[in-house]
Every structure is written in structure tokens, then in C-alpha cells.
Subunit: 396 residues, 2 copies
């Protein structure tokens, strides 16, 4: 497959690996047709079953991300009236959807390292700017592939997170000063030093993340809608790209509507959607929400995500913290443990049903993006109904 | 499929759901032949692809356990000289192998509830005695299936664990007094009150756990050995039973050797193996090991596990805490995060290679049983190599 980067907005192509388009928008690999579902050759799947439309082959050391289950929850179907499925992305190797993109990003970095030209004595290296799921995922996938990783974290990172990331032994760089600015600086730094930077919306990560859309449509070909949280816009872009590739290959004709969700406290993409703007404008970064891992005040692929929504006839909705925590508890009550950022999906589905955008009988897939930091984060508050003596057991 | 319980040791059968055999040994469902691999009908698998040899059908509300990836780690293959695969059971819904058994246990409980006869006003209920992975798993699987769950925990359970279990809203009973004794009491209490008790080695859980062996052999038909941690002996029994069923159905001829691992600090099954005893004798319960979740001083299926080892030509090995922590760090360094109890598997593989039991070129599957309590537990100590300034990045 070609590694040509293309701007979805103005169509410019480049083989320059580190740049955004001159128009300012992020690049992705050119849309290519997905013409047939891969054969079910392996017992348990992974994203690599779509290798034909991925920019690299599966590395020898790989954690087998993807092939996550699509759950059908009878109680939620009854409540919503929808033909509803929930995609449990928490079943990925490090507990979030990020592993799909990290695996491909690491694969691309590894290939580049074999081909080129790192300064003598320097090991090949992948880098990312994150102190959450993406950091954990990139560090783990790099470790599996035998590639060095650098993770840029803010100076005040919580000890628990540092320990979890550090378990995979990346180089950890605590950054003083403006952490937000580093997203762009890192791309430039990487270009200068021959290090592959795998941030949230670089083409290689988007290529990996698009497999989410493939899995959804391969399982349910006639989906009406997909609902997923949005932060940087990278994953939303990837799902859109996956849909475009299936349409280009004749595997689907009508695209399902893409509904994106943000926390009300930090919803620049939703604001642009409501204002009928074509471009997402950064907001002041003083957001405080339980869904902190999707609180991105200046989403680098926000405008592209907005284009995805417009192209598919979806919408961007905002949900407040009360609704998010209610949804998190509801999911736990049916055995599914997610971080608050993932619970936004169910909160949005509820809101979209109430508002009439989703109608009884619609075929809808909600994406539960992760467990919360490798599974440890975001416990719901409830601690069950406890009893203190054995005597009363079974006798109520 | 018949729900007839059978004693592996003396062959007695019973339809009494709650009893152990009069000889004292645990019962399982009769061994039945697995004659063909199921068709790959579904995009992503689960244990339910083996429904034909499970005692119940998939419940409408189910978390799709199983179909976990079998990882090939180039670095570990090089170090050991083995054709080595690692089965990542941490990819199950609540992060451990327990979900296979809980799903079937809950399914059986649900079916029984539909058929019978709970006291008027009492909801159908499944119960388990655990404050670890099994509690979490049973509570989640019950919640998914819409069944009430009771979890018996010790009075001094850590708050973090209580919160994680409580998220799924089971009834939690804190037990004063002898927690160990409760394992047996619960079976009797359950029988008396019409509650299905799903402990570590009841037939329904063993039926679910045997799917681990199916997945291993379906992926690698000519395995020489399987290495897995042992605690109660329930899972080891299940793997053995899975092997017997494949042999009965003609899907394998020579059984792979079953190697079981315990922590040196609490290794009653290994002691019995070394002493050439046929029966496992309880040891004093003062064990202190990092692998606390497999520290079972009086394993209820220990003797059955020992029979499995003898029948397959395997062994039971003990590994000390230093070896366990070294193995945990080694796994993290290749991107795989496990609790110490799971790391015993790699420690044992290393020891078995050094001792000559496993030889270069042997085809070996090591089972990594879980992440550690839903993913949160047991971080390795390392926190990576941190740097504190951006200036030095990429310039070493």
C-alpha cells in the first residue's frame, strides 16, 4: 500500500512524513477501496486481518489489538427501543481503542527504522505526547515490537499513571511549561531528529483506528448510526475514513450517520456543529469534567471530525457530568465497566433517543472506547448493598 | 447436553447439583467427546462457539468471554529456544480467565432459576466465595445476564477491591470468622436455600474453563506442553477435562503435558507432587507471597489437579517471589501487563527449561491468567527512565 499522505480537505498529497497540510488540516493516507472482507483464516482475530489496507504488515512482536466483541444488552435495547450494539474497546491489550492505532503507528515506525537513517548509535524510536490511554498504549505496543519509545508527559503527572506507563519501560520525558503546545512541537522535533511521532491523529494512527469501522460494518452491514466520544478528532476521522473505504470498495452504499459526543464542560466541536461553522475554534482550556480524557479544548482533527459528521448526516452532542455518571452506573449494572469518557456514548444515545434523532428500531452501534487507564480508573461510586452477618444470607 | 455430575476419581454419577462425591473429590460434568471444531460463524469469537459441549446456551445478556489472543513473543522464543505462545487471558471481560467459568456458571444458574422453585418473592441468585478475580467476574457476568449475585468477602477486604466488585451491584456479604471454611459452607447453604453457588471448582465453572484448552489446541494442534498457575485446582482440572474431551472426540491423540505452577510460599500441590503422593494435604495457612491470588493452602481440587499432571506426564513446580517479580518485569518489557500470579507461568517456563523438562524446539503454551483484579493490580516497580527537560530529547 502507498504511504502517500493526503489532505481530506484540499486534496493535496505529499510524501513528507511529518507535516500537516499547508491549509492547516491533518493528513491521512489516501482513501483506498476495501473490496472484500478478509477470509476468516485465524482463530482469533485482530486488526491485522485487514492488513491489505493497512500501511504495514503485522510486526513480529504484536499484542493483537482489535477483534473486540460487539455486545447486545437486552435491558438497554428495551429501554431505548433501538437495535443496539455496544463495541467493547476496553477488551484491547491495554484497555482502550488506542491500541489499534498504536500497533500500526509502531509498525510504521519500525519499518522506517529498518529503511533509514537514524543518527549513528541512536536506536529507532517512536514518540507520543500523552499522559493517558495513548501513552500506555504506545509504550506497550513499542515494547512488544522491540522499539524504543519516548512518552512526553506533563511535569505534574499523577504517580499512579507514571507507574502504569513506566511498567513498559519507555523513556519518559516530563515536560515543563505549555504541555498543549507540545503536540505540534513534537511533530516538528520528530521530523528534525528522525523520530516517528505517533500522536492522536497522525496518518499511521488513523490507519489503525479505521479498523474499528471495518469491524462494525462487517458484523452489522446495515447500521444506521455509530455513536462515539470525540476528543482530538483522530478516532472520529478514522471511523469516517473506514466508512469511505468500504463505500469505495462496494462493501457499503449508504454510510451510517456518525454521532460524536463531548462533555458539556469542554465541547469545541459540538459548539461549532451547533453554530453551523465549518471550522472548529479552540475554547479556553479551563474545562473540568469527569470525562477528562476527552476534554480537548483545541482538537487538532476537530474540523475533520466535523466534516465527517456533516458528510454522514450525523450530529455532535454534548452531555453533562450527571448524565455521564448515570450512564457509567447503568453500564456497570449490566456488567460493563468503562471510564467516564466512554460512558458519554450511552449518555448520548439516551439524549439522541429523547431528541428524536435516533428512532425506535434504528440499528445503532455505540463505541465504548476504554476501561479507564488500563482498567484501573474511574470506578462508579456505588459499592453494592452490603450485609454484615452470615445469618441473614439467602433469607431475605 | 446432560447435566449429570460425575466424579473423575471413582466414577460415581449424581444429579444432585450441590454435592461433592462421597469420596470427597469434586464432581464435574461427564467427559463428552468434542468431535469437530465449530464453524467460524461469527466475526469475533467467544467461549460460546463451543456451545455444543457446554451445559447451557449463551444467555441473552453475556459479556462474550474467551477467544483471547495467543501471542508469540520473539524475544522470549529466542531466550528459551521454545516454540512458545502466551495465552493472554487478561483480555477477558473483567481481566481474568475466571470469566469463562463465570459466564457458564451464571448461565446454569439462570436456567435453573427459570425451571425451579425459589421461595416466593426471592429473586434467582448466583453466589460465590471470593474477594478477588472470581468475585469481580461473577458479579459482572451475573449483572450482564440480569441475575442477582451474592458475593461473600472477608470482613477485612480492602476498600479498593470492595469498590471494584461493588460497581456491578451484587449483594456483598462481609463474613466474620473463618473465611476458608466458608467455601464448603456456601455449597451447603446454597443447596438449602436454592441458590446456585459458583465457586472455583464447581462443575459449571469447570465446564466454562475447559474452553481454554479447546482454544489452545484448535490454534496449535500439536502442543507439547501447557504451563499454568494453579490455586484451587479448578482451572487445571478444566484444562485436563478439555484435553480429555478432544481426545474422546478424536481431535487430539497425545495429550500435551500439563505443567502447574505454585508460589514456593504456598505450594501444597507441588509438595504432594514432589513426595509422589496421590492426595494433596493442606498446609498451614500462613503464606505470604506476591502471588497472593494463587496462595491456596487447602485447594479443594488439588488432588484432581495432581491427577491431571500425572495423567499427562507433566509436573508441578514452585517458584519464589524473586523469580515471579523478575518474570513480571520481563513480560512488561515486551508489552504484557500481568499480576504476579500470572507471571508465575513465565517463571516456571524458565525453570522448566533450565531443569531440562522443556527442551529446545518444544511447542509450549503458557497461560497468563489475568491482569490483576480487573487491570488495576500489581504494577511492576519500575517507572521507566525519566528525564526532566525537553532540551535533551532525541539528542542522546
Amino acid at each position: 500500500m502507498t504511504l502517500e499522505r493526503r489532505c481530506y480537505a484540499c486534496g493535496v498529497t505529499t510524501d513528507q512524513p511529518y507535516a500537516r497540510c499547508d491549509c492547516g488540516e491533518p493528513l491521512w493516507f489516501a482513501v483506498q477501496p476495501l473490496e472484500a472482507w478478509p477470509a476468516l483464516a485465524e482463530l482469533t482475530g485482530s486488526i491485522w486481518r485487514y492488513e491489505d489496507v493497512l500501511p504495514v504488515e503485522q510486526p513480529a512482536g504484536d499484542l493483537a489489538p482489535g477483534a473486540t466483541p460487539l455486545l447486545s444488552v437486552p435491558g438497554l435495547r428495551e429501554e431505548t427501543g433501538l437495535e443496539l450494539w455496544l463495541k467493547d474497546e476496553g477488551r484491547n491489550p491495554t484497555g482502550s481503542f488506542k491500541d489499534r492505532g498504536s500497533a500500526v503507528g509502531v509498525g510504521v515506525a519500525l519499518e522506517r527504522a529498518h529503511e533509514a537513517s537514524t543518527p549513528a548509535g541512536d536506536p529507532a524510536r517512536v514518540a507520543t505526547v500523552s499522559h493517558g490511554n495513548m501513552a500506555l498504549s504506545t509504550a506497550a505496543c513499542a515494547a512488544a515490537a522491540g522499539l524504543e519509545a519516548t512518552v512526553f508527559v506533563p511535569e505534574d503527572i499523577a504517580g499512579e499513571r507514571l507507574a502504569a506507563i513506566g511498567a513498559f519501560e519507555p523513556e519518559i520525558v516530563r515536560v515543563r511549561g505549555d504541555y498543549g503546545r507540545l503536540y505540534h512541537d513534537a511533530l516538528e522535533l520528530g521530523a528534525r531528529h528522525g523520530v516517528t511521532v505517533c500522536n492522536s491523529d497522525v496518518p499511521s494512527r488513523v490507519a489503525g483506528q479505521k479498523t474499528l469501522a471495518f469491524e462494525l460494518l462487517e458484523a452489522v452491514p446495515d447500521l444506521d448510526a455509530i455513536v462515539l466520544p470525540v476528543s482530538s478528532g483522530g478516532n472520529a476521522s478514522a471511523v469516517w475514513k473506514g466508512l469511505l473505504e468500504m463505500r469505495a470498495g462496494g462493501l457499503c452504499t449508504d454510510l451510517p450517520a456518525l454521532y460524536l459526543v463531548q462533555a458539556t464542560a469542554c465541547d469545541p466541536i459540538a459548539r461549532a456543529y451547533r453554530a453551523s461553522d465549518d471550522v472548529v475554534t479552540p475554547i479556553d482550556d479551563d474545562a473540568d469534567t469527569v470525562a477528562y480524557s476527552i476534554a480537548n479544548a483545541d482538537p487538532p482533527s476537530g474540523t475533520r471530525a466535523l466534516a465527517a459528521v456533516r458528510d454522514t448526516g450525523g450530529a455532535v452532542v454534548s452531555v453533562d457530568d450527571d448524565a455521564i455518571l448515570t450512564a457509567q452506573r447503568r453500564l456497570a449494572s449490566v456488567g460493563i465497566r468503562v471510564e467516564p469518557s466512554s460512558a458519554t456514548t450511552l449518555a448520548a444515545i439516551t439524549a439522541l433517543c429523547e431528541g428524536g434523532a435516533l428512532k425506535s428500531g434504528d440499528r445503532v452501534a455505540g463505541v465504548l472506547t476504554g476501561r479507564g487507564y488500563g482498567g484501573s480508573g474511574g470506578e462508579p461510586e456505588t459499592t453494592g448493598r452490603t450485609r454484615d452477618t452470615l445469618d441473614t444470607v439467602f433469607s431475605s
